[in-house]
């Protein structure tokens, strides 16, 4: 069928909304409340177009296209209406753009500018709500909220958490938690999906770079940094480099220019995680342990389980996440090695995630008064720091990470994408169980951005069932099946964010799905790169060295003390 847009006939498919048709034909209509691939809510009306036959303004995001429909996307009437909508949104918006976290990165600001709003024509009464700084990962400024409801919808449909909802009614409506308490006591799992979809500065991460800069400038501190596997393929976009480009070398150089004394790679401890988690899985399989075993790398998933699945906590691997493992090793083995006290080391990690900020502050993550990690910066914060310090990122000469925690396998690198932990674990578990390496290292079935993937692998005649889920709402479905008695699955990888860390809550705002795919592809390309000989975690020499000199065996007493933890039921308002 055909519809007529601005006097030009374009093809439309059955079941498409007007907005779908417009997007496919590269006709730009602004949106605010719309989220791609989710049911439209039609709340903000900014996407209205004029129906020529009736003269009515209809929301393109929720209006189905039909044969013979004639619309104008930028008629006089449409522009005026859009302008009024934005003016009304601005009427009770705080005018502090210059000091806002989202300055120059804000949908509302862009709209106001695109629609040429130059005067505060409408003045509204401003409802004041307190800032919510209670969470260690996120902060909320409800005064900047335009009630588009994107955060509420992702929290409910992608994460299955619903920590926030619309409270009150009419002009007094705001977005808040149950009983309007702080996020810290709510069921919020700190995943930061809400930050990623928020069009304004109403939701943002708790920044920690001031603390980091202070430590760097403190001559008594040895400041150590580590970065997650996903960072090197996500940072390029901030510096006008093609999305997905692996800028690992430049990043190492930039981190040194920022003043970090040692630059380590969390991928090293991803390999370490595989040694520990692989051994744990084999033990569970051989000694009748609790199965299926769930991965424990994702701190948002862990908090979710502690709140919603307290009866399944024994199914979760006791392994700390790679961030925490490396943190613990830095404050013990590395400190000893360079002859300094752990309290004189300041340990920073760069993560694609805001939940990592929460994880780092968990009481279980450290010993006595020494915390495994001292500060967590998101990919966004790192990019800002590099800009603040005037580093010409694009033209930096690549450098390597530091020893003894800089070597990494390409399997560990895959941790950045959903299915990667599984793939790396399969490679190592296979080798441990059979004594041979997998012939084809690539485990196609667990690759890609699908929310749920399953595979069956034959290892020495035993059929190992594995599942990979990302987006917690997908995990809930699988767990329901397991609770109902499904027993063919032995190992489950769960990541809260759809697609895994490459699409984490700490990544570049306004990331396009195509950019996320490029980040994923980049990790897969690294895995087949001929210049990268180390493809499996269990051959990482620095990791093996660490076992030989310090930890002993995987799952040894010392490894348990430093690299494993326990989870606890959390009583929050669900």
């Amino acid at each position: 069928m055909n519809i007529e847009v601005n006097n030009i006939s374009v093809e439309a498919n059955n079941g498409e909304t007007i907005l779908d048709v417009l997007k496919r034909n590269n006709i730009h209509v602004p949106t605010l409340c719309h989220i791609k691939d989710m049911l439209p809510s039609g709340a903000c009306r900014i996407c209205i177009v004029e129906d020529i036959k009736t003269g009515k303004l209809i929301p393109s995001c929720s209006f189905p296209a039909y044969d013979g429909l004639k619309i104008k996307t930028h008629s006089y009437k449409v522009i005026n209406a859009r302008k009024t909508i934005v003016e009304l949104l601005l009427a009770n918006h705080p005018n502090d753009c210059l000091y806002c976290d989202r300055n120059q990165n804000c949908d509302l600001q862009t709209l106001a500018s695109d629609l040429q709003i130059k005067q505060p024509r409408i003045k509204g009464q401003k409802e004041h709500h307190n800032l919510d700084f209670s969470s260690v990962s996120l902060k909320r400024d409800p005064d900047k909220c335009i009630l588009c409801g994107r955060c509420v919808r992702v929290c409910e449909t992608i994460m299955g958490v619903s920590a926030i909802s619309f409270i009150n009614r009419g002009s007094r409506t705001f977005i808040g938690t149950a009983l309007n308490e702080g996020l810290n006591t709510s069921s919020c799992i700190n995943c930061g999906r809400c930050v990623v979809v928020c069009p304004t500065g109403a939701l943002s991460e708790q920044t920690q770079y001031e603390k980091v800069i202070e430590a760097i400038n403190n001559s008594e501190k040895t400041v150590v940094v580590q970065y997650a596997p996903a960072i090197s393929v996500s940072l390029a976009e901030f510096f006008d480099i093609e999305a997905g480009t692996d800028v690992n070398g430049k990043m190492n150089a930039a981190l040194r220019r920022l003043g970090f004394d040692k630059v380590f790679d969390t991928t090293f401890s991803a390999d370490l995680t595989i040694m520990e988690e692989g051994t744990e899985l084999i033990n569970r399989l051989q000694n009748g342990g609790k199965l299926p075993m769930f991965t424990s790398c994702c701190p948002a998933w862990i908090k979710y389980a502690e709140e919603f699945l307290p009866d399944m906590l024994d199914n979760i691997s006791t392994c700390k996440s790679p961030q925490q493992m490396l943190g613990a090793i830095i404050k013990t083995y590395f400190a000893e090695k360079i002859g300094t006290k752990p309290e004189n080391i300041y340990s920073v990690s760069i993560m694609p995630c805001v939940a990592k900020k929460f994880e780092e502050q968990r009481v279980e993550m450290g010993s006595e008064s020494i915390s495994d990690i001292d500060a967590v910066l998101t990919t966004r914060e790192l990019a800002e720091l590099i800009k603040t310090y005037g580093i010409d990122f694009k033209n930096l000469e690549p450098e390597s990470a530091d020893s003894p925690h800089g070597e990494r396998s390409t399997a560990g690198k895959l941790f950045g994408v959903s299915g990667g932990v599984m793939e790396a674990a399969i490679r190592t578990a296979y080798a441990k169980l059979t004594g041979n390496e997998l012939e084809d290292l690539k485990v196609e079935a667990v690759r890609g951005l699908e929310g749920r993937k399953e595979a069956k692998l034959n290892i020495n005649g035993f059929e190992l069932g594995v599942a990979v889920v990302s987006g917690l709402a997908n995990a809930i479905q699988l767990i329901d099946e397991i609770k109902k008695g499904r027993s063919d699955i032995h190992f489950v990888e769960i990541m809260a964010c759809p697609g895994g860390c490459i699409n984490g809550g700490g990544q570049k705002l306004h990331s396009d799905i195509e950019d996320i795919k490029k980040r994923m592809q980049s990790l897969y390309i690294i895995d087949i790169d001929e210049n990268e000989p180390l493809k499996v975690s269990h051959k990482n020499k620095e990791v093996l060295d660490l076992y030989e000199k310090f930890l002993g065996e995987p799952n040894s007493h010392k490894a348990h003390e430093l690299l494993h933890t326990k989870y606890h039921k959390r009583d929050v308002l669900l």
Binding site: S162, S165, I167, R169, A178, L574
Partner: protein
């Protein structure tokens, strides 16, 4: 709490019954406590934020217990014309609470209601059902001092 638990026996535990259940709890307890909101969420399998969201949408639900003496202040048309806004302001100032709240000592709660059918006595208020006529700024203190 046990009594509250019993209340659910009369209902099919589906989302559709959220509002009737909230109403009945309020009838029983006088307000919706955090505990009762949590219980409703658990029973009906609705996230607490959504239970709270629905409850706050309607003016009929309150989230703090009523005071020993509940002052209902009429904001109907006749009372409005004769100055109920000033009376409200005076009550809020005198009791140091906003409409919908309860004093810290639990003695008074202040509630704004639509016409109570005493237009001839405007501006009118009622304290636990006892009606006071032609209230003004000056008589606010005197009225509250009757209840201690």
């Amino acid at each position: 709490m046990d009594e509250l638990e019993k209340l659910f026996e009369n209902y099919d535990l589906s989302r559709d019954n959220l509002i009737p259940i909230l109403q009945e709890i309020q009838e029983h307890e006088g307000y919706l406590s955090p505990e009762s909101i949590a219980l409703v969420g658990k029973k009906l399998k609705i996230p607490n934020s959504q239970v709270y969201g629905v409850a706050t949408f309607y003016n009929q639900f309150r989230f703090v217990p009523k005071g020993k003496y509940n002052i209902q202040l009429c904001r109907g048309t006749a009372c409005h014309v004769l100055g109920s806004a000033t009376v409200l302001e005076e009550f809020e100032k005198h009791l140091d609470i906003k409409a919908g709240q309860t004093t810290k000592d639990g003695l008074f709660s202040l509630e704004v209601v639509a016409c109570i059918g005493a237009c001839g006595l405007a501006p009118a208020i009622s304290v636990n059902g006892e009606v006071f006529a032609k209230v003004n700024r000056e008589t606010v203190k005197a009225i509250t001092s009757l209840y201690n």
